[in-house]
């Protein structure tokens, strides 16, 4: 069977089911009795087992099989959920994740799972009323591997289906000549012949054993093919040193023989019990599948292509708008306006399609926090608010690592040890809150903890020590500005390297990533009450509303989202404070940034008594960008400047205007100090 085309689907679905499992496991820890959770895990394990067996990932299938057994026990109250069991279950999940990850990165998904299987088996047998008790865990695992051509229900399902489609199901016994020296090679050749004719469902001994020549001179395979019995025999006999080939047809309805053939095998019995008991939940899940059928899976590459095409359309739209204004033809103008509206709606839809709930990032944190808390002997709970907030996929892909970093930081440096917390009169269990919400064109993510807060003095001393600030600057810094020093490169407060945070990589990586995404991060903290890291991210990265401005003959775009207001002031309104030009904007002193001097615009002359100022904000801080003149608002497509010009100060990218010219997009955040 050509499985490649199913691989993507397999990976997608496995990841999905593993996530479900992970969520449910965490829930299970809180509500060990809740049947719907147990059902959820059982179903997920069951599905993964089936898929991986079909795809030929034996280790994955074996492990999920055992996991499934455990949950089968749990759901029939044979096994009780114990806290120490959870670790084994989480470990199992880790291993499953690792295998799926391996497969998705092109590996073969092989992994030594025998120890984990043993652990699961011992959970399973830990109960007096299961007949598994007679068997010890080790045997259990091995027998599952060796089994005498006994079939599990998935293999049975394949046989059933192939019979329905008119394929022949054969049991083939191949006897190699006793003089054969390279048994492994012959086996390989036989398999090659078989794979050309059809598909091997199962072999005894298993293929890995055969490859290592761990068999006498004969082996059996169950084989599905369209060829006749004779052809199969003939073709296999062409392989040299094959002395005998016996092909026996497996008649439909006779599979049970195969299943019962090895009734001594307890493992097998467990499966049988399941087969009968499974029907109900399977149907149930079918039902819920039906309800979800209203969505389709689309390869993300296609969405990217769609986005790229649409971006070109937006550029042309800009151009058309300009042409129609120039020509001033009523019909043309109307058509163009209509087209602009339609493409505006289209834009919303396309951007929406790329939105992913932030849950896909958040959902890994509960486990991470749980694990880190154990490592550090702290008691930490997690609260997630707004996990359904949506963000552009590109942002989602990038934001995971910074969040991990911040959470590690909060666990390591924020939350105190239980003893300390009790002394401070706080509950011994700390809480980390992850909160996401949308506001305008931005999504905000807050990571707060009820820990120790940030020690201003310690941060300042450290910053001075590492030359992040000068002692002169240090005097004027507000608390917030001091806290934000921990995000500067060259700063790291980890007094001791704990292995959790502080691996020499500072939080500056976090700041850089977030700024690269067009967002920013602010920190607030109260001693002994906790700290809040707030991240502001743009909803989407590719098409933004911007204000076009002109300085001399050069055009620049300023993202609308960071603009508070535009004002035109008389020169006399400019004040001086600390050698800086400032203005009084609605009672706030706002420093001015003269873009013509920052950008060295050639031959710039202020030719009037009035100045045009764009007031921009970053968190609570504001700045006035002095430009030549305002042109107007426009939707622009964000384009990178290319690899060659990676880090141009104060410029976050470029866009192509209606007339084909390139305008640079100003990164106003970097102009606010």
């Amino acid at each position: 069977m050509e499985t490649n085309q199913y691989l993507d689907v397999f990976i997608d679905e496995s990841v999905e089911h593993l996530e479900t499992m992970s969520d449910n496991l965490l829930e299970l820890e809180k509500n060990p009795e809740e049947k719907s959770i147990i059902e959820g895990i059982f179903r997920a394990a069951h599905t993964i087992k089936g898929m991986s067996a079909t795809m030929g990932y034996q280790d994955l299938a074996d492990l999920t099989h055992n996991l499934e057994n455990v949950f089968d026990g749990i759901r029939y109250d044979k096994i009780k959920v114990e806290p120490d069991m959870m670790d084994v279950l989480f470990d199992t999940l880790d291993q499953l994740n690792a295998m799926v990850e391996d497969i998705s990165s092109g590996g073969d998904g092989k992994r030594d799972v025998s120890t984990q299987i043993k652990k699961l088996a011992s959970i399973e047998k830990g109960e007096p009323f299961t007949d598994v008790t007679s068997n010890n865990g080790e045997n259990d695992a091995e027998q599952a591997d060796v089994g005498n051509l006994s079939l599990d229900e998935f293999e049975l399902a394949i046989l059933n289906e192939s019979a329905e489609r008119g394929f022949n199901n054969f049991e083939v016994e191949v006897q190699l000549s006793e003089k054969c020296l390279l048994k492994g090679a012959r086996v390989f050749m036989v398999f090659e012949v078989l794979e050309q004719m059809g598909e091997v469902i199962k072999s005894n001994p298993p293929v890995s054993e055969l490859e290592e020549e761990n068999f006498d001179y004969s082996f059996n395979v169950i084989f599905v093919t369209q060829q006749s019995e004779d052809e199969v025999v003939q073709k296999i006999k062409k392989v040299s040193e094959v002395s005998e080939v016996n092909v026996k047809e497996i008649a439909q309805g006779n599979y049970e023989d195969y299943q019962e053939k090895d009734s001594a095998d307890v493992e097998q019995q467990a499966i049988q019990e399941q087969t009968s008991s499974e029907q109900a939940p399977t149907q149930q899940s079918n039902g819920s599948n039906q309800a979800r059928r209203k969505t389709i899976r689309v390869n993300i590459d296609r969405l990217d292509v769609l986005m790229n095409l649409f971006e070109e359309l937006v550029i042309d739209r800009g151009r058309l708008e300009q042409i129609s204004t120039d020509l001033n033809n009523v019909d043309l103008t109307e058509t163009v306006e209509r087209m602009s509206r339609v493409s505006g709606d289209l834009q919303d839809i396309i951007l929406n399609m790329r939105m992913v709930p932030i849950d896909s990032v958040f959902n890994r944190f509960p486990r991470m926090i749980r694990q880190l808390a154990r490592e550090l002997d702290k008691e930490i709970g997690i609260d997630i608010i707004g996990a359904d907030t949506e963000l552009d996929r590109t942002v989602i892909d990038e934001i995971g690592d910074p969040l991990v970093h911040l959470i590690r930081n909060a666990i390591d440096h924020g939350i105190e040890s239980p003893a300390d917390r009790v002394t401070k009169g706080k509950p011994s269990k700390g809480t980390i809150t992850l909160k996401a919400y949308q506001g305008g064109n931005y999504v905000f993510i807050e990571i707060s903890d009820d820990g120790a807060g940030i020690n201003r003095e310690r941060v300042l001393n450290k910053a001075l020590e590492n030359n992040v600030v000068t002692s002169e600057e240090a005097k004027h810094l507000t608390d917030q500005e001091v806290y934000e020093l921990i995000l500067e490169s060259g700063f790291s407060t980890a007094d001791s390297i704990s292995g959790v945070s502080g691996r020499g990589v500072g939080l500056d990586v976090v700041k850089n990533t977030i700024q690269k995404l067009g967002g920013n991060i602010t920190i607030d903290a109260t001693p002994d009450k906790g700290s809040i890291f707030s991240i502001q991210l743009p909803l989407t990265l590719s098409i933004i509303s911007a204000l076009l401005v002109e300085i001399k003959d050069e055009k620049f775009a300023i993202p609308l989202a960071s603009i508070i207001e535009t004002v035109i002031l008389h020169k006399d309104d400019i004040l001086s404070a600390h050698n800086k030009k400032v203005i009084d904007f609605r009672g706030n002193i706002v420093p001015l940034a003269f873009l013509h001097s920052i950008f060295d615009v050639p031959d710039y002359e202020a030719d009037s008594d009035y100045i045009s100022v764009v007031i921009v904000k970053k968190g609570d801080r504001m700045s006035g960008l002095v430009v030549g003149s305002f042109i107007g608002q426009q939707e622009v497509v964000l384009k990178p400047l290319g690899n060659y010009l990676k880090d141009v100060p104060a410029i976050s990218g470029a866009t192509i205007l209606g007339d084909g010219q390139v305008a640079l997009i100003i990164d106003s955040n970097s102009l606010i100090r």
């Binding site: 615009v601 384009k639 290319g642 010009l645 104060a650 410029i651 192509i656 390139v662 305008a663």
Partner: protein, 158 residues
């Protein structure tokens, strides 16, 4: 041209001119040769980075090779061309005086660079090719694009 025997060793090169000197770059590195279009200046970059252009919807930085080589600047005219080159993951346009030739060069005819070729620093040269009376200078594109130490360039009189 007799292709029969030596086709295997022949490589195509784009030939362009700066300050009456002829240069060559392998054709596979060249994406396109464009007439000069309006360039948007990018502030706070190296002096030889003239800015960015819009090449069919893609924003591409352009470098003035005269400035890069430390030669005197010349105002752009009708024959000025931008050669778009691809190097690894980077796309850059090179502004040259003119570009109007593609030639086949046998790899054997490439010689190591002499110490100094006119005013251009040897660092940027990966070899020279002599054909009849022409001398083509092969440019080391990696060097030309590297932003490291552009100021260390020394102008050696030849």
């Amino acid at each position: 041209m007799p292709y029969e025997e030596s086709t295997l060793n022949l490589k195509k090169f784009i030939v362009f001119e700066i300050a009456d000197e002829e240069f060559a770059i392998p054709v596979e590195k060249v994406g396109a040769i464009e007439r000069l279009e309006s360039i948007t200046r990018v502030p706070q970059t190296e002096k030889f980075v003239k800015g960015v252009i819009n090449l069919r919807g893609v924003v591409i930085p352009v470098i003035d090779l005269r400035t890069r080589f430390g030669l005197e600047t010349k105002s752009y005219d009708e024959s000025t061309r931008i050669i778009i080159i691809h190097l690894d993951e980077t796309e850059v346009g090179l502004i040259v005086d003119q570009a109007n030739d593609v030639i086949d060069i046998s790899e054997d005819s490439i010689e190591p660079a002499p110490e100094v070729v006119d005013e251009i620093d040897i660092d940027y040269i990966s070899g020279v090719i002599k054909i009849d009376k022409r001398l083509l200078i092969m440019i080391d594109l990696h060097r030309v694009l590297s932003i490291e130490n552009p100021s260390e360039y020394t102008n050696t009189e030849g």
